[in-house]
Amino acid sequence: MKTFGDTARINGSGAFAMRITISDGPLGVSWQHASETCEFLGDVFALHHAKQGADYNEARHSIVYLVNELLENAIKFRVPGTISVDCSLHQGNFELTVSNDTEAEVASRFQALIEEITSRDPGELLIERIEANAADENSSGSGLGLLTLMNDYGARLGWDFRSSATGGAVMLSTHAALTLN
């Protein structure tokens, strides 16, 4: 297994937690699943957080943005199979893990990108990559979503890659943690 970034988990068995599994079925996994899943999790976890007197709107938005970005990546870069989304919340610490299978070659390109975007200050890198992206018409802007999460939301991100049970694919888990106000 290869690990990058911050994969430490703090929330334990006392946390409010939920797992959603998006399965490939007759209808297939589509872009729409990212928005429906993130809106649902945003509602449920922000309501729970607001019971402690916190700002519902702010918490809901941060959760929706984070879950949406990681699910968009999972849907874009996965191979057919299940995507699992694990969320937990304890005393304002929101943790998320999104897991899916991806091709070995995609995984290795992604590892190079992760090494680059975790090597320096995310704010500087975000601006540099936006500039580079604007100068190159064919650029897809990869990494900008992760840098936005790190810089604008203060998200702590980590990744692990392991051999998947399904043949030549790699199982990627992306971990994120956010402190909700």
Binding site: W31, A34, S35, N57, E58, H61, S62, V64, Y65, N68, E69, E72, K76, L126, I127, I130, E131, N133, A134, S139, S140, G141, L144, G145, T148, D152, Y153
Partner: protein
Amino acid sequence: MEIKTGEYNVWNEGSIIHYEGTLRLSGTDAYQPILELMQQVLAEKPQNVVLDLTQLEFLNSSGINLLAKFTIELRKHPDMPVKVVGSSKIPWQSKSLPNLQKLHKGVELVIV
């Protein structure tokens, strides 16, 4: 000019470009029609440009990249005032819009 889908609407009134709803398109290609609308406003050589985001509840990172790309295009017109208007009720705007000022010093950011 207008792009209206119900989930999101983008239209202009002169040099004011309005955005409304939830924008989470899948990438640069999907955002191209919106970028073209913005570029057409610029092509008419307006005296100023206003981006009104006060009704844009959600914008994914590909959409933020679209705003960033357009901001970089606006730098080619250093004398043209640019105003970006956001809402304090929509959290992504206070978090991510200040990046536009880092790209172009001429951007006036107003969060109402």
